[in-house]
């Protein structure tokens, strides 16, 4: 009777088995799907080739080596209009990464603060935070970017108004910070000879603080003696670096911005385009993070809070030691996708003239060379690579904090 269950092997192979026999059917479907997808791909490719030939164009990335011919205002690496399109692309990519990095940090801070405050017992504060979250979440980010930019550039603080004896506007913080409608100028360090040594000392003292913390914790566990942690750490933080700094004759100086000609010169110029994009993206994404944080905290059962209270922990310690560590595990996965969204939304930089990857490679380069196919392909690939890299790193981190189930 086994022949009833197993198809007879000797009976040969029928074409219909490909469809009706479960052993072969999945293979059949996969082959069909594969062929269809390949066919579609080939069809699109063929169309592209025909269309390009009709327009007398080709696919050639050689233009990336040509002179770019345009200037970019915000540079993280040296670049001039004599540099190549490829270098302009890298400049743009770095600018994209810069605003994404800064945005992720600020959005996290804003989101956590707003999320926690929204659960505050203070009715007024909770309501203000709800208002913030609901208004930012429900209005397009592009509108926020434009609005922030309009606020910054319509401030009545032109650089010109800082000039002269009876200037209309003044610099802040002992004449070191200038907030103008073209951007904010802050002091920038000038690295003299020997400044590397100061930086190394500083990094070493950070290591020292960490080591001291470990040691004092172990000592506390062993003897129960509590050392005045904060003051010791502060000492390690400041003293060695300062000592080296003065011993070497103050190698690091500050460049203070001052008004010269049309604009401020010296110092670090944070342009309004960057500021507006950064703030808008941070506040927008922050409102989503606030919701994630809030629901993460709410997801921790009330018993945890009560147990902590029963142990006699103060509310602030309950939050830091009991609730947040547990909530973190719920918070991180959606947080990753918010970081990705922020990075992708940074491509709206073009609305405020921030020279990111979209504006260099996908903007001026595309326009001056007319190589839209190559530029768009390259740009998509770069964005894809950035997204995949971020999600890979964050997933690794997520796995490291995940509850280890045994």
């Amino acid at each position: 009777m086994t022949t009833m269950i197993d198809p007879p092997k000797a009976a040969g192979f029928h074409i219909s088995q490909l469809l009706y026999d479960t052993r072969y059917r999945s293979m059949t479907i996969q082959v069909i799907v594969f062929l269809l997808v390949m066919g579609l791909g080939a069809y699109l490719l063929n169309n592209t080739i025909i269309n390009l030939a009709a327009a007398d164009k080709d696919i050639d990335f050689g233009f990336l080596g040509n002179r770019a011919g345009y200037d970019i205002n915000q540079l993280l690496i040296p670049y001039s209009s004599d540099s190549t399109h490829w270098r302009a692309t890298i400049v743009g990519l770095l600018n994209t990464l810069l605003v994404a990095f800064l945005g992720c940090i600020l959005a996290t801070i804003i989101g956590v603060v707003a999320g926690v405050l929204r659960l505050s017992k203070n009715w007024l504060t909770a309501k203000i935070m709800s208002f913030y979250v609901e208004s930012f979440r429900n209005i397009p980010v592009l509108l926020w970017i434009l609005a922030f930019f309009a606020v910054l550039s319509e401030m009545d603080r032109k650089p010109r108004s800082f000039r002269g004896e009876d200037a209309v506007n003044n610099m802040w913080l002992w004449d070191s910070v200038a907030v103008t409608n073209r951007g904010t100028y802050i002091p920038a360090p000038i690295w003299g000879d020997g400044s590397a040594l100061v930086v190394i000392t500083f990094l070493l003292s950070l290591l020292g603080i960490w080591a001291y913390g470990k040691w004092s914790h172990r000592r506390f566990e062993a003897t129960g003696q509590i050392l005045p942690n904060f003051w010791y750490k502060l000492g390690i933080f400041i003293v060695p670096s300062l000592a080296v700094f003065f011993l070497l004759g103050r190698p690091i100086a500050l460049s203070i911005p001052e008004i010269k000609g049309f604009n401020f010169s010296g110092g670090l110029h944070i342009r309004n385009s960057l500021l507006a994009l950064w703030l808008a993206l941070s506040f927008y994404t922050g409102s989503f993070i606030a919701e994630i944080v809030r629901s993460g905290i709410l997801a921790i059962s009330k018993g945890q809070t009560e147990a902590a209270a029963a142990l006699g922990l103060r509310p602030s310690r309950t939050m830091n030691l009991v609730i947040l560590p547990q909530a973190l595990r719920i918070i991180i996965p959606p947080l990753i996708s918010q970081y990705l969204n922020l990075t992708k939304n940074s491509s709206l930089a073009l609305a405020v003239g921030y020279m990111d990857l979209r504006s260099t490679l996908g903007g001026t380069t595309l326009n001056t060379t007319g190589r839209e196919l190559e530029c768009m392909l390259l740009m998509m690939m770069v964005y894809l690579a950035v997204s995949l890299t971020i999600s890979t790193f964050m997933n690794v981190y997520n796995n490291s904090v995940k509850l280890k189930e045994r």
Partner: protein, 436 residues
Amino acid sequence: MKNSKSVAFVREGMIDQQPAPASQIGAVRWLKDNLFSSVLNSILTIISLLVIFWVLSGIVPWMFGGVWNASSLSECRDILNERYGNTHYACWAVLTERWQQLLFGFYPAEEIWRAVVAFVLMLVAIAPVLFESVPRKLLWVTIAFPFLMVWLVWGGPIWGPLLVALGFVLFYVSYVVLERKSSTLLALIGSLVIGLVWWMFCVGPLSEALGSALPIGDLERVESRVLGGFMICVIIGLSGIALSLPIGLILALGRQSNLWVVKAICVGFIEFIRGVPLITLLFTASLLLNYFLPPGTAFDLTLRVIIMVTLFSSAYMAEVIRGGLAALPKGQYEAADALGLDYWQSQRLIIMPQALKISIPGIVNTFIGLFKDTTLVMFIGIFDMLGLSNAIRANSAWNGINWELYIFIGLVFWICCFSMSQYSQWLERKLRTGHH
């Protein structure tokens, strides 16, 4: 302490009920509990009050002192100067003059009723999907709506949309007939071929012939170039989400499939789309899509954008539905298998009805995201509300006006998105209690 040495005091009667102390009732109690329960809280309250005062004192006079009737910014400023002696007030007159443009773009003024009717129909069509208490018969409106909308918005004889709809009927009927004769898969492929043949080769000539023979319901044609403003956001968002639902469904199933080729293709597609910004896809729509199509076909930009937006949201939709599928207890899959249902039957009868129900809040959230993202079409020269605000400012009469337009646009989006997100939260709560 007078009585301490004499007879101990003994109360003889009950004291009447006393009102609670003033600090424990009403507004005072509420204030104490909610605003000044601790030092930190009091500080927070004061800071909050200061923030509110600072914001309101700036905005309220500006908003309510505004001018509603003027024909240009300079006229508006003259009125303000006359009235207050300065111009620190809003110029709402730009909205009085241009609100129709912001909502409907350059849609011909005498045809705007069609857009309004389509919008109302849309609300009617969506209602039975969103609320279970709405009569089920309204679902027929939902089914008819896409075709009615195309007819109302773009005009032309009614035959085109009608014949396309007929194609779906044909598709369904041939599927039912074929399924009786052969397997599900073959029936699906067969009916798909029949449907495609009908749509590609029969609809065009037939609708032309019928249109000239029986010109019924011949609305004036409106080109999609003139669509704009809020209307184009709704059209793109709605068609994007509706068309992406079936694609997202297939992608989600494909991603969960055991067939690795299918799975790899679906994962690749989803991750690619989710990895690039929407704006690059929109630029692809405006710059590149024509390269990929056979020479000689030139789609309208709006249609190209709808195609790209559909592909974009289908990847997100797939992830939402996958979440719904994953949230179903494993027992449901096993029970379906135990009943002897095949893959498609178990999906259709057991899995999908439950998974889709769980996914509705996620779908609504995807829609909110997509709806907000439709503002990006401004970058490829489609006049959505933000694009129109630029065009309005290009006019010398309104050169330099910002906030009034931004506030209007923001408010429109906020009303739409906030009500949708409230709905999705309400549904989430309802679904959650449903499980207990």
